[in-house]
């Protein structure tokens, strides 16, 4: 068996084409026809093309032979009989066992089967070989890495159990690639033990294993692909409403039937430990259905809640995803302080005040004042301050305003006719997200419109769904041009590309700059249906309302911030700060803050988590609802071959194997001396070719005619 040490030199064989091309270029030119592709013409045997006569086939053959011998010599051939092949066959093995412990492995006996398979693979590890056990779900953990003694791996396997997190094959393969990448001169093997959930593989994932790696898939899903039955609560929609002064909660749940049969189930809504409502729903196979409960009274102090399936089919694959938990934040109203020019008519802030006052989730208490009437006490009480076409106050009042923003209040600046670069106090230019410039006058035509918005931004995400308001409908006749500051985010633009809404941070507070008026002087926004939700969303976002989600997904990191929890890091040293994090299983962990007073808690279990600062009473602990990812509920499987092909190395495995398996560079040099013979043979052929060529051209031995002359 022949192998090559430098196979890339084989590309030199392309040079063989040179004499052939030289020959072909001698032909006469014919009519030229452009054709899209030679895909089929190339497949037709040579009878279909005009034949070229080779004038001197022997000479051509010698030249081609010489080039081939040279190319082969540079590629440095190795022959198994010379001693290297045996070493390759006996190269020790590195095995990485990837064991899936995602949420879906809780289905049936999948986990037990996975454990048995992993033990069998560990049994096969021979002395001198190394193995690593990688447990993965959304993330992957290699434990002790590649080891020759597999005893600790067996112990680790015995104590492992499936978690609640989703699946990411990409993370597992990337870690396996890192472990195997450092292993030179060894055979590489990856054993993937999983239920091969399709949702665990992202087709855009670029995870790829190093060369010479063999991937062995071991499927532990007992049911046939695509037939695994599962009913799950996939998503919730929580809306706060008001019935008079009574706050109410409207809950809609989305139930998915991922099985092959139609299912009828009882869905229950529970809040604060009490059953609030229930309803029965029939769901055809393979689709989801929304279930809306009647509005229920909302506890003022916040509460835990959940929607669960009270009846489910007997063969339901994952009973654990039949419940969807949430936490309701305490009902709170926002204090909004609207400042306008002193002596301005009541209509200036009329639309804005009415639109904000109508908000129910959250309720907004709106106070409208002249700019001079506001002082530090007013700012301190406000969650959001709106400068409605008025510049920020100068002096002490301005300092108090921006200090309040630094502390976390929101600031909305409405840049109309009265707010420009000259009226805005120079001391407060930096906090603005943009520099105020001239006015764009579009009053002569049909006016401008809002055409480009960031649909993922919290202000605009509610307008993303169909029939949720046409933001392009309002006509804007004038607006102020803005030059966004570095670091500011432009979240909406007018049709000429000019920024309409720009956002930046000032301390802990958010500053939003709206480039046209919010009354009817510069646009007809106030009389358009989108006005009310738009201004409410702007103010809610400025106040960071709803920043805490009602639930999180397993595997997410929860950021813990000592200052957000009320600690003053000027007084308390960050190293003295720690949190007690209690998982739904009851397991407690103490997490210490970093130098900046923050830390992260990995939410790797479904259920209600309790988190509090160490030393704080348990009753004041914060509750976080965590649910399994909905993708884990989909038990359909991916084709093994597809997954293996996606992560397998692309280069020639034989070449890589040989390159990596040779004992040392010195041995390599000693054992591949065959190139010298090839060079000598090439030289010999070239000498013959030269002699023959000279003879044909008449430069060598004179012909009979020449001799006579």
């Amino acid at each position: 068996m022949v192998a090559l040490l430098a196979p890339l030199f084989l590309l030199g064989a392309i040079a063989v084409a040179v004499p052939v091309i030289l020959h072909l270029t001698q032909r006469s030119k014919g009519e030229v026809v452009e054709f899209p592709s030679f895909m089929f013409l190339q497949r037709i045997p040579s009878r279909t093309t005009r034949h070229r006569r080779i004038r001197d086939p022997l000479l051509l053959a010698l030249r081609v032979l010489a080039l081939l011998l040279l190319t082969l010599a540079f590629a440095r051939p190795l022959i198994r009989a010379w001693g290297l092949g045996e070493e390759v066959g006996e190269a020790p093995r590195d095995v990485v066992i990837l064991v899936d412990r995602s949420f879906s492995m809780r289905h049936g006996d999948r986990w037990e089967r996975a454990r048995r398979e992993a033990e069998a693979v560990l049994d096969g590890v021979r002395p001198g070989e190394r193995a690593a056990l990688v447990q993965f779900a959304k993330t992957a953990d290699a434990g002790s890495g590649l080891v020759e003694d597999v005893t600790p791996l067996r112990s680790s396997l015995a104590t492992a159990s499936p978690g609640d997190a989703g699946t990411s094959y990409g993370a597992a393969f990337r870690l396996a690639g890192r472990l195997l990448g450092a292993a030179e001169g060894r055979r590489r093997e990856v054993v993937l033990i999983s239920d091969f959930q399709r949702t665990g593989w992202d087709e855009g994932d670029d995870a790829r294993l190093p060369g010479n790696t063999e991937v062995i898939p071991l499927d532990v899903a007992s049911d046939a692909a695509g037939e695994a039955s599962n009913l799950t609560v996939a998503d919730l929609d929580l809306r706060r409403t008001r019935s008079g002064e009574v706050p109410r909660l409207q809950v809609a749940a989305r139930i998915l039937n991922l099985g092959a049969d139609s299912v009828r189930t009882l869905v229950e809504l529970e809040i604060g430990g009490r059953l609030q409502a229930d309803t029965t729903v029939s769901i055809p196979p393979g689709i989801g259905r929304s279930v809306a409960f009647d509005p229920v009274p909302l506890p003022r102090g916040g509460a835990r809640g959940g929607v669960h399936l009270a009846s489910r089919p007997e063969d339901d694959g994952l009973p654990l995803d039949d419940e969807f938990r949430f936490v309701l934040e305490p009902d709170r109203d926002l204090d909004v302080l609207v400042l306008q020019s002193d002596g301005a008519p009541a209509t200036r802030s009329l639309f804005l005040r009415e639109a904000l006052s109508l908000s129910s989730e959250p309720g907004m208490r709106v106070t409208v004042l002249g700019a001079r009437g506001a002082g530090a006490d007013r700012f301190a009480a406000a969650d959001v301050i709106v400068l409605n076409d008025v510049a920020a106050p100068d002096g002490a009042a301005g300092a108090a305003l921006f200090r309040r923003v630094e502390e976390g209040a929101g600031l909305v600046v409405v840049a109309g006719a009265r707010v420009n670069g000259s009226t805005w106090p120079g001391a407060w230019v930096d906090p603005l997200p943009g520099v105020l410039a001239d006015v764009a006058d579009r009053s002569r035509g049909s006016g401008g419109s809002l055409t480009t918005v960031d649909g993922d931004h919290p202000v605009f995400e509610v307008f993303r769904a169909p029939r949720s308001g046409d933001l392009a409908a309002p006509r804007v006749y004038r607006y102020r041009r803005l030059d966004p500051s570095p670091g500011a985010e432009v979240v909406a633009r007018f049709d000429d590309g000019s920024p309409a809404l720009v956002e930046s941070r000032h301390g802990d507070g958010r500053v939003l700059l709206w480039a046209t008026s919010l009354d009817r002087s510069w646009s007809d926004f106030p009389v358009q249906p989108v006005y009310l939700p738009l201004v409410q969303r702007i103010v809610m976002h400025a106040a960071a309302f709803g920043a805490e989600p009602a639930w999180r997904e397993v595997g997410e990191d929860l950021m813990l911030d000592a200052e957000a929890d009320g600690l003053d890091l000027q007084v308390t040293e960050p190293e003295d700060v720690s949190w007690i994090v209690e998982a739904p299983s009851g397991e407690r962990e103490s997490i210490h803050a970093g130098p900046d007073g923050t830390a992260a808690a990995r939410l790797d279990e479904a259920g209600f988590w309790r988190i509090r600062l160490d030393g704080m009473p348990e009753a004041e602990a914060r509750t976080v609802a965590v649910n399994p990812g909905v993708s884990e509920s989909d038990l359909r499987a991916i084709d093994h071959a597809e997954l293996v092909a996606a992560v397998s190395p692309t280069e020639d495995p034989t070449a890589t194997a040989l390159a990596s398996a040779v004992a040392s560079p010195a041995d390599r040099e000693r054992r591949q001396g065959g190139w010298r013979f090839l060079m000598a043979a090439a030289g010999l052929v070239l000498v013959v070719e030269a002699a023959l060529a000279n003879r044909r051209r008449g430069y060598g031995v004179p012909t009979e005619g020449q001799a006579k002359e």
């Binding site: 032909r27 030119k29 014919g30 009519e31 030229v32 026809v33 452009e34 054709f35 899209p36 592709s37 030679f38 895909m39 089929f40 013409l41 190339q42 497949r43 037709i44 009878r47 279909t48 093309t49 005009r50 087709e203 855009g204 809306r239 409403t241 409207q250 809609a252 929304s290 809306a292 009647d294 509005p295 129910s360 055409t451 169909p466 029939r467 392009a472 249906p529 939700p533």
Partner: protein, 310 residues
Amino acid sequence: MIARRHTRAEAEAGSRDRFLDPLVLSRISDLELLARTVVEGFISGLHRSPFLGFSVDFAEHRPYMPGDDIRRIDWRVYARTDRFYIKEYEAETNTNVLIVLDVSRSMDFSSGGVSKLDYGRFLAASLAYLSGQQRDRVGFVAFDGDTREYVPPAIRHRDIVLHTIDRLEPGEGGGLTRPLSRVGERLTKKGIVALISDLYAEPAEVARAVGALRRKGNDLLVFHLLDPAEIGFPYHAPSDFVELETGRSMPVTPDRLRDDYVRLMRDHLDEIQALLVGQGVDYAMFDTSRPLDGALFHYLSRRESRLRVR
């Protein structure tokens, strides 16, 4: 009487065909005017097509929420129950339509009529216009070896799509896998993907590239465009053939190879069709001498079936 009716029907059909003839269309320089001509001529030919307009299939009632349009309250239900309910309709939600046009060098081929690229541009513009009329979110991708143009799907992007199509130039050569994989990465919502290409790649590669989009849940329509000369190979004189994508040349004696070429092309088409249809892809081959209405019919039928199964 019967004979007169027949004549009128023929005249109407002839008139419609004349407007949809690619050669006639190629004389219209404004792409939006062209698309409007095609689509409106086509629609008038359909006589109130059942495919057009929004579906109004009633789906379900849901309780009224603050912020809902009060015009959508079902007053009959209110009269019966004394509670406000909103009527929900199926398929009012607009569909994402992404038109993916191959602009590789081989598409710039013409044996006398319009080139495949121009035919593809007409078709893409007509689909964009038609989708815009139906208030679908229209997006556009042009590719050769890689993505050349990308306009994300949005309701108001029709004009941008038409402008983009209008200024398209033939690109370089290239395969399907890489650009279609890029398209797949950018698709965040399921929808209709209309691929217009001459599909010069191995059938397995075509199936793999197209299948990746299909597996993401998109409805996939493949418009396979070929020039009549690519199908029938009507050349006679021995000539130097130059491949458009690579520029390399090959001496060819057409009379000797025609039968083999036609057979290979037919096998290629059959194999592509079998593989794509097997994956649930809607495949149709069009030669560039055919009027556009066949392609538009094909598209509308597919869109209609998508709305029905939603």
